[in-house]
């Protein structure tokens, strides 16, 4: 239970940090308003509150210092300027670290973030003219505060914002009693037995609410801290103030509580209200319950509860914060824009759903196929229904896939930190501009993009941007700009990273490539060819290996990671203007575009992403070599031909390829080969099914898919079908007599 809550807290933390990050961006771009700082304050505050519940002292301490600065910001004790924004960013980065450390139960070195913490504290002190001692006091964390806050995380998971704990005592907001009106003050304390017998105070209060205007206040003082909270004994008592409708007397009120007689402590007092009435308060106890109007002396004052008391089974709530906001705007409550309501779902459940829908689509295709074979095709009603089924299942599949999609905002925000850190390390100033953060991509894709993007950004800062002096000399602003952009384009996601740096130094790249033996002196390379040399293995232009990048495992790793996601990467550069790297990715990893082919009676799928060209039988210009090796001449170069049926061990080598279709494929290394197949059926979308889960990886095969007829087709791993240089075989080229081939090489 506790660990569930803890997990939930950290999930909330992620969301809160995202809000904070968005706020920081707005601050930086000077698009912020009062609500920006309010929402940032609330985020940090909620993190602090949750941290209190789980005893995460380090987090509490840091969040507290952070929160204080934000508090000063929103009360205009501090002006937003560059220094503050920079401090906020460092604070945010450190807060991320502390949250991560707490999540993984790691100990951060005490020195980490000490400077930031000190600076935050200093800022608050300066703003408030506090001495250091007082500040220490301010940092003393009042545990009571947090115990109450903990309720928000533990029990109010609906994501409603909490009212900050340090609000001044709740203002009495239009109590709901006209001058001289009769009020009933009902003191109600449920005994444990009331709950065990299945009664719910909420129902009683609701019944009471139907008799007039009701306000409810819960007294949580007797509630144990969360760590030691038990379901018994019952600890909450309530003070209910009713402005009765006509004809309601004490007897009627007692009647409501008749059923729970002896299971509660009930005290009903009749008082005369003295304050002017505010607007009518809600009639339903659960909806709204303003703090009680100052009532007569004989109604014992109840300590105003600080937190919203949605503690089950407490039906009462502290005053809704809209009122506070209306009052001063500094109460800190909901942002003005409507919240999208969301639920958290285990990813496994979603995947199961996706699998089932995939099945449905296949069954539907099978049904359609068998319908077509039936002679009764004249029956239009059936075919119409089947047409509808097809449409529906298509829409269903799309909607289900959309569940896994997530905006790239979170990913981009992580990258903004990378930009800050690497700029600092490289001694450059730069900022990250994000475009299209709302673009949605499959969750797995965003997760697997973190590493390559991090590397690309480090590269951009380290190699792309010039030093501030060089920038000024070149007539550019001192601060470099790195732009991260996401967009949907023709069924794919395109993410591009551009910098306004010096662009690729082509002569240097060429020189380096020669030195490393990647190219030959006589090679005639276009500018674009040279630029893309950066993606070759073992290539690094940095003269010295810097801390940031330049370990020589850079862009080729990025490239292979992107290709593993079914994506393509491309680099464009303009000398003096900057470099743009574009990644194009499939929308989801579960579906892939593929070419259905036939080999030796088996159906196979070749991923379209690797496919460059197809040649029908007779079109190709094939040349024979030793041992049945064959080459295909294309545009003056000779590509090896791989007989797919033979490579996969389905059959012995074919004596001649004149009836074979050829597929030109290109692997991640940029090398090409031609696959000889018996026939090309069609291009189609296939649902990818992994083989490793129930079996093991198979050489030459990437995954499997299920065709419309229910049969399984294997998806060819094209990279393994391309002979690598020097070591002329892939281990698959010659199928059965592989060992023999090895001995020839």
């Amino acid at each position: 239970m506790m660990s569930d809550l803890r997990d939930m807290f950290f999930e909330e933390c992620d969301d809160l940090l995202e809000v904070l990050s968005t706020g920081l961006e707005e601050l930086q771009n000077e698009t912020s308003d009062a609500e920006t700082i309010n929402s940032m304050f609330r985020s940090v505050h909620s993190i602090k509150g949750g941290a209190g519940a789980f005893g995460l002292d380090r987090l509490i301490k840091f969040a507290h210092a952070f929160e204080n600065v934000l508090d000063d910001l929103r009360s205009n004790k501090i002006e937003v300027d560059g220094t503050i924004t920079a401090l906020m960013f460092s604070g945010f980065d450190h807060l991320n670290d502390v949250v991560d450390a707490a999540r993984d139960d790691n100990d951060l070195p005490e020195s980490d973030g000490a400077a930031v913490l000190a600076e935050l504290k200093q800022t608050t002190q300066n703003a408030n003219g506090l001495s250091g001692d007082e500040e220490e006091d301010a940092n003393e964390v009042d545990s009571d505060d947090f115990v109450v806050q903990a309720m928000d995380f533990g029990l109010d998971l609906g994501g409603e914002d909490d009212a900050p704990a340090d609000l001044p005592g709740l203002p009495s907001l239009g109590g709901g009693a006209a001058e001289g009106t009769m009020l009933f003050v009902v003191k109600f304390k449920a005994e444990t037995v009331l709950y065990t017998r299945g009664h719910d105070p909420a129902l009683l209060f609701r019944a009471l609410g139907e008799m007039g205007d009701l306000s409810i206040e819960a007294d949580l003082e007797a509630v144990a801290p969360l760590e030691s909270l038990k379901d018994a004994p019952a600890a909450i008592s309530w003070t209910l103030t009713l402005r009765p409708d006509d004809g309601i007397d004490e007897g009627a009120i007692r009647e409501i509580f008749e059923f729970v007689e002896g299971q509660c402590i009930l005290q009903i007092t009749e008082v005369v209200a003295e304050t002017p009435a505010g607007e009518a308060s809600a009639t339903e106890a659960e909806v709204e319950s303003p703090a009680p109007a100052p009532v007569a002396e004989d109604a014992p004052a109840v300590a105003p509860t600080k937190a919203k008391t949605k503690t089950k089974p407490t039906p009462a709530k502290a005053p809704k914060a809209e009122k506070q906001e209306a009052k001063g705007g500094d109460g800190g409550k909901k942002s003005s824009e409507p919240r999208n309501s969301t639920i958290r779902v285990d990813l496994n459940r979603v995947d199961r759903l996706i699998n089932l829908v995939g099945e449905l689509v296949i069954s539907e295709a099978m049904l359609r196929q068998s319908m077509n074979e039936l002679p009764v095709s004249a029956n239009s009603a059936v075919s119409e229904a089947i047409g509808q089924l097809k449409t529906l299942s298509g829409v269903l599949q799309e909607s289900v896939m959309a569940i896994r999609a997530q905006p790239v905002r979170g990913l981009f925000q992580r990258m903004s930190r990378i930009v800050r850190e690497s700029s600092r390390q490289a001694g450059k100033t730069s900022r990250l501009v994000m475009v299209g953060e709302a673009t949605e991509v499959d969750k797995t894709v965003t997760e697997r993009l973190v590493e390559p993007l991090t590397h690309m950004i480090r590269n951009s800062v380290d190699h792309g941007l010039e030093t501030p002096e060089d920038r000024l000399a070149a007539g550019k602003p001192e601060m470099g700009t790195i732009k991260l952009e996401a967009a949907h384009r023709s069924g794919r996601v395109v993410i591009s990273l551009s910098d306004d740096g010096a662009g690729v130094n082509r002569p240097k790249v060429r020189e380096k490539a020669l030195e490393k033996g990647i190219i030959r002196p006589e090679d005639d390379l276009t500018d674009s060819d040279i630029d893309n040399l950066l993606f070759r293995a073992g290539f690094s232009t940095a003269d010295e290996i810097s801390q940031l990048s330049g370990r020589g495992v850079g862009m080729d790793v990025v490239r292979s990671e992107i290709q593993a996601l079914g994506g393509r990467i491309n680099l464009q550069s303009e000398p003096g203007k900057g470099t743009t790297i574009t990644i194009s990715l499939p929308l989801t990893l579960a579906v892939m575009e593929g070419m259905l082919i036939e080999v030796a009676g088996e159906s196979l799928v070749v991923p379209t992403v690797a496919l460059r060209e197809t040649l029908q039988p007779g079109q190709a210009n094939i040349h024979d070599f030793c041992d049945g090796d064959r080459g295909l001449s294309v545009n003056d170069s000779m590509l090896p031909i791989v007989d797919l049926g033979e490579a996969l061990g389905f059959r012995s080598p074919l004596p001649d390829f004149s009836n074979q279709s050829l597929l030109l494929i290109e692997g991640e290394s940029g090398r090409r080969s031609a696959l000889a197949v018996d026939g090309i059926v069609e291009q189609r979308e296939v649902v990818i099914k992994g083989l490793e889960h129930n079996y093991q990886s198979i050489p030459g095969i990437a995954a499997a898919t299920i065709l419309g007829n229910g049969k399984i087709a294997l998806i060819v791993d094209t990279d393994q079908m391309i002979p690598s240089p020097g070591n002329g075989n892939t281990g698959l080229l010659k199928g059965s007599d592989m060992a023999e081939v090895n001995s020839y090489v």
Partner: protein, 156 residues
């Protein structure tokens, strides 16, 4: 005391699914068996050991089908519609076992199992956990963990 002993015995009663391959009877712990299906055609796997018949589609899951007869050294099965596939879940993996026929579900005591005779075949020693004697029949208990395709054997 005796009561306790009886209690212990009942605790160790398990159910086994017995099935036939040729003239021989074998069995699996029912806990491993997910379902039993008729033969459906499979997709041939490249570079697979000969006892892996291919991949089958079980309501959207792709799983390998193993010719148990071949795996146990009893000769290759030429699958036809009378054959049966036992879908089992072993070590987090789902797998189909191609057998001739499923005979029965029997409750046995775990201590009724007898050691495999010390025969020369390493295959017998590796794949057969022991035998149950039911009426006049010897039912060979399969060691499910050993019978699964082993990773190292793939490309060879």
């Amino acid at each position: 005391m005796s009561e306790q002993a009886t209690q212990e015995q009942t605790d160790e009663r398990i159910e086994i699914v017995s099935f036939a391959i040729g003239e021989q009877a074998f069995c699996l712990d029912i806990g491993h068996v997910l379902e039993i299906r008729g033969w459906t055609s499979t997709t041939t796997l490249p570079h697979a050991p000969e006892y892996v018949v291919g991949m089958m589609n079980l309501r959207g899951a792709v799983l390998p089908v193993i010719d148990l007869s071949m795996r146990l050294g009893l000769g290759k099965t030429i699958p036809e519609s009378r054959h049966v596939i036992i879908i089992a879940h072993i070590d987090e993996k789902s797998v189909g076992f191609l057998v001739d026929a499923v005979s029965n579900i029997i409750t046995v005591n775990t201590d009724e199992i007898k050691a495999t005779p010390e025969v020369s075949s390493s295959r017998t020693a590796a794949f057969i956990r022991g035998v149950y004697t039911l009426d006049d029949t010897i039912v060979r208990a399969i060691d499910v963990h050993q019978i699964m395709p082993q990773e190292a054997m793939s490309a060879a």
